[in-house]
Amino acid sequence: MANITDEDIRKPENLVYSRTKVLTENIMSYCPGCGHGTAHRIIAEVIEEMGIQDKTVGIAPVGCSVLAYNFFDLDMQQAPHGRAPAVGTAVKRLLPDHFVFTYQGDGDLAAIGTAETIHACNRGENITMIFINNGIYGMTGGQMAPTTLPGMKSSTSPYGRDVATMGNPLKITELLAQLPGTIYVARHAVHTPAAVRKAKKAVRKAFENQKLNKGTSFVEIVSNCNSGWKMTPNQSNKWMVDHMFPYYPMGEIKDTVGKE
């Protein structure tokens, strides 16, 4: 094989991969090793591939991804903690020809915003909801989340989550799948190339579904939080596979599209 110089590599015809134009050049504020960046990327790639950048409005949450609007090259709104589904509801109702997505973490979507989440899905709002579940409050320094596993340590469950006094982890995704308003509910991860491909397919479907105007599409992405879990990125991904996946199993939970 001929020697390839650095200059050759940089030639456009030799590029095999580049940053999607739907992401800005801003440096992401996420910890190295965290899944948020990859989740952002696949959403941005889907929007670019669908050619809907000029017709998309994104809703950012409160939490680690509060600054999501700095990273997506899209018109974005930053919602109060937990309220993204209510904000997104109005945006979609007032701009029915646009694509609207919310991007929320577990504390935002499954604790403080539970009512907004359930009711937006129950009304079958024609939006795409992306849910990042890493079982912890990352932004505020590793407190217990509604999805923190039994026995899992956090700064507010320093001896491990005691389900007798702290409740059980909330499988809100399964709960939402019970509602007639959701048409597509899936759970994926972004820790391996194969997982990323599957997650991206689900995100694509969740966005394509908005063209059908039939209900809410919901994709949970189980992610690591190496900082919050106090592990290296590799350790945290392994821990996620060993502990999070059994409780939050991967796959399509509900898909009513094309089955009518």
Partner: protein, 361 residues
């Protein structure tokens, strides 16, 4: 000839919104303002003008729907009564911080807590001092008639979009429920998305290729930048204070004593003036129409010309604090109020001014 209709205050709000070309209403039922949502649902404005009407799951959701709609440059509003407005305070603070225009209607009932469903003016502090967190103001309009309920919807949207700040219509259970004649305005057309882009270049309607994206947020983590945001917002409020003060005066020219009252209380005071003047008392009424910005300057002028002012409120004494600040000690200021949903009678008000300012009967 103008169209004339007999309407409840709450219904007038809804009809005004439809005719003003409003894009959406998001609300949750609560007495004594549920007619606003009921009227809109019955009218089906979606079929006439394309206006969206949605019953939300809570007041928290309603105000955040308003946030989302306003961020798209749409003319959106919500309404509630006291306990529900308390739930909206987070959203209102966010809207003021993100500089979003919208109209919010509070048909006030008695508190604290669940209180009573009867009319009250005890939400004055919450309205004009910033009920939510942070340095911000709600531009507050106080209607005293069903006609003003109607008129202040259009006026409210106008002011809200002029300053990119929420406008509160501070009404009460009496004005919301009572029926009066209302002159209606012509149906306005709603703005198209293209018109919104032109008028409000900050609106999030999708990133136009080749242009910078629009971001609606109240967050700025760098304090040096956040302070600049605060200073800019404060400068806006100084403009509001310069340009938007509104009030009405009745028989203040020769008045020795002046009632200061807004909304329902001002209507009671009008009757008290009739009764008092018949007895030879030289009394008049100063009615603030904007509670923020408060007409302090004019009150100060009047204070220099009269012997005393009585702040008449259906509260334990809230606006009276602003009256005292405005008067700067130039004249005597007293407060008379009824609480818990009681509306004072005109005679009670006359007795109060005699007792508190005129040295008894």
């Amino acid at each position: 000839m103008k169209e004339l209709r007999l309407m409840k205050g709450n219904e007038a709000i809804s009809e005004a919104a439809i005719r003003d070309g409003c894009d959406g209403y998001f609300g949750y039922p609560i007495t004594p303002q549920s007619e606003i949502l009921e009227y809109l649902m019955a009218e089906r404005p979606y079929e006439k003008t394309g206006m969206i009407v949605l019953q939300a799951e809570s007041e928290v959701a309603s105000i955040n729907m308003v946030y989302g709609g306003a961020a798209c440059g749409k003319k959106v509003f919500t309404s509630s009564s006291s306990p529900g407005i308390s739930l909206m305070q987070e959203g209102l603070s966010y809207m003021a911080g993100a500089e979003l225009p919208a109209v919010i209607v509070n048909v006030v009932r008695g508190g604290p807590g669940l209180g009573t469903i009867q009319p009250s003016q005890a939400d004055y502090f919450q309205s004009v001092k910033g009920g939510g967190h942070g340095d911000y103001k709600l531009i507050t309009l106080a209607p005293a008639s069903v006609q003003e309920m109607y008129d202040f919807v259009g006026l409210g949207f106008e002011i809200a979009f002029r300053y990119r700040n929420p406008v509160l219509i501070l009404s009460d259970g009496a004005i919301g429920q009572m029926m009066e004649k209302v002159y209606l305005t012509e149906q306005k057309t709603r703005l198209t998305n293209e018109e919104i882009r032109e008028k409000y270049p900050w609106a999030t309607l999708g990133k136009v290729p080749g242009k910078h994206r629009n971001i609606i947020t109240s967050l700025e983590l760098e304090s040096a930048k956040q302070e600049k945001v605060n200073i800019r917002i404060q400068a806006k409020y100084r403009e509001v204070e310069k340009n938007e003060v509104r009030y009405e005066e009745i028989l203040t020219e020769d008045a020795e004593y002046i009632f200061v009252a807004y909304g329902t209380s001002s209507r009671i005071c009008q009757k008290s003036i009739e009764l008092g003047r018949a007895k030879g008392m030289k009394i008049g009424l100063f009615r603030p129409i904007t509670l923020y910005p408060f007409p302090s300057e004019r009150i100060n002028e009047l204070a220099g010309k009269c012997k005393g002012m009585l702040s008449v409120e259906m509260s334990a004494g809230q606006m009276v604090e602003d009256v005292k600040l405005a008067v700067e000690g130039k004249t005597k200021v007293a407060h008379f109020g009824r609480l818990g949903g009681i509306i004072p009678s005109p005679v009670e008000v006359i007795n109060a001014i005699e007792e508190k300012l005129m040295g008894g009967k």
